[in-house]
């Protein structure tokens, strides 16, 4: 079929403030924080001793994995990704054929890291001269594509089964790549998502960069403050999000519930030129990415009702707002509604984009804006550009037709998606 419309028919999530879509929806509506203090980080003398990790019970684990798969299992990123991915698949009402693969269904499931604790365990054994005691599963638990490999087998996927990686853009990019594959007629259904493990051995590099907040160890829920004047760094998180994307024809043939339509998007890089670097975005490229996404969707910047930003709670939040404002040609009271999930979840790194896409789609489906928490005093340079009424601090019912979601990552990479209420 030529140039099919692409819709979202399934959601799954494993976030620090809620595991499973019902709990997550409730959490984001209530503005619930998933940031906690970890004594392990204190013991290891981290400056930032707080973070966000999904709370996964043994019951949830055994819902998705066999006892054999759980033996010597220590790859949190695979656990989160499988929980979110299988949930999304089941939510979409898709059957799992135990005998045959489905050549029309695939996955692009992104990763930053996923099995660092397993890797650490392996490295200790190797250094002790005990390589032979690693067991049979250390490869699949530590390879980047481990999560897509596990999911591909659990769901019997027969189309493209792969993993993308582009730092904090990963999840949003996975959705765009999956969308493009369906658009190109190469697949009917794609599970798009991303995952990240967490903990000291994942977060250490960010602590060393001194870009995490160190003054909130005794009040973790207050630490992540996107757009706030007192924002002092991003809180590290982890988890996974997943969306089933499907051609409209396939969704309608199955009588599937449609959450939203994905009408366009764009990814690019600033080439670490102009003001861009390994860790800072080139604003020219960010704006280009947004305008190209808008163009790809066949809409104008005026049509966007809400933006779900990247907005990590570092000193770069005001630059991001400036980029949105200039790219869309909108400011003040005319600026779209904007919010950041990271106040509640922290920055879930490679998983952030997909978790935030799930939140974005829930907002469109249920016509509300989740609150920006910990926003006590709007950053003055953001206040100069955007009317405060456009930045909700409580859950707000809203008529949303089009929502833009963007993520920006280390390596000066950008991705922007345009979701639309399905009609």
């Amino acid at each position: 079929m030529q140039n099919p419309r692409v819709v979202v028919t399934g959601l799954g999530v494993c976030a620090p403030n809620g595991v499973g879509v019902p709990a997550f929806k409730e959490a984001i509506e209530a503005g619930k924080s998933g940031i906690r203090f970890y004594s392990e980080l204190e013991k290891l003398k981290f400056s930032c001793q707080i973070g966000g990790m999904p709370l996964i019970s043994e019951a949830v684990k055994s819902k998705y994995f066999t006892p054999l798969q759980l033996r010597n299992f220590n790859a949190a990123g695979i656990l989160y990704g499988v929980a979110a991915g299988v949930e999304a698949w089941q939510d979409a009402g898709l059957e799992i054929d135990e005998d045959h693969c489905d050549f029309d269904s695939g996955t692009i499931f992104g990763v930053g890291t996923l099995g660092v604790d397993k890797y650490r365990e392996s490295i200790y054994k190797v250094d002790e001269g005990n390589t032979r005691r690693l067991g049979s599963t250390s490869v699949q638990q530590t390879m980047s594509s481990g999560v897509s490999a596990y999911l591909g087998g659990m769901l019997g996927l027969g189309n493209l089964v792969t993993t993308n990686s582009s730092a904090c853009t990963t999840g949003t990019e996975a959705v765009l790549l999956a969308y493009e594959r369906i658009k190109a007629g190469k697949a009917k259904r794609m599970l798009a998502g991303s995952t990240s493990d967490g903990g000291p051995y994942v977060w250490c590099g960010f602590d060393a960069l001194r870009i995490l907040p160190s003054k909130y160890n005794d009040k973790p829920a207050k630490a992540s403050r996107p757009m706030d004047a007192d924002a002092s760094g991003f809180v590290p998180g982890s988890g996974a999000g997943a969306l089933v994307l499907e051609s409209l024809e396939s969704a309608q043939d199955r009588g599937a519930t449609i959450y939203a339509e994905l009408i366009g998007g764009h990814s690019n890089s600033g080439g670490q030129r102009q003001e861009g670097s390994m860790t800072a975005p080139n604003p020219v490229a960010v704006k280009h990415c947004i305008t190209e996404a808008v163009r790809d969707a066949g809409i104008s910047g005026e049509a966007i009702d809400a933006v779900n930003g990247h907005l990590t709670a570092t000193s770069k939040d005001d630059l991001e707002i400036e980029n949105w404002s200039e790219a869309l040609g909108r400011s003040g009271i005319d600026f779209p509604y904007i919010n950041s999930l990271k106040g509640m979840t922290g920055h879930c790194l490679a998983a952030s984009g997909s978790i935030e896409c799930v939140a974005s789609v829930l907002q469109l489906k249920h016509q509300f804006l989740f609150p920006n928490i910990n926003l006590d005093r709007l950053h003055p340079s953001i206040a100069m550009r955007v009317a405060e009424s456009r930045i909700p601090k409580v859950k707000t019912p809203a008529k949303l037709n089009i929502l833009a979601k963007a993520s920006f990552g280390f390596g000066d990479v950008n991705c922007c998606l345009i979701f639309k209420k399905f009609q």
């Binding site: 006892p67 054999l68 033996r71 032979r132 067991g135 049979s136």
Partner: protein
């Protein structure tokens, strides 16, 4: 047949059986891969579990001696005696 080793070994093997293989079908003559349909990559895990359970070390070139249940028991007995 060593009556102490056998139940311990079947207990070790059981989690590695595919869903459609009944643990009751384990017999002394069962071939781990051909009869019990255990994924051959899991043989290294079974060896590790055996090492832990019996406090012995099985060399890599002895792995192929553990093809059946009774052969595995014989190897374990031999290792225990040599300890």
């Amino acid at each position: 047949m060593n009556q102490e080793i056998y139940p311990k070994l079947t207990e070790i093997i059981t989690p590695y059986l595919p869903e459609d293989v009944d643990p009751k079908s384990i017999e002394p003559s069962s071939h781990l891969v051909n009869d019990l349909n255990i994924n051959s990559t899991h043989l290294v895990d079974i060896v590790l579990d055996v090492e832990d359970a019996f406090d012995i070390t099985i060399e890599d070139d002895e792995l192929n001696k553990m093809d059946t249940v009774e052969a595995s028991i014989a190897l374990i007995e031999q290792k225990l005696e040599a300890r």
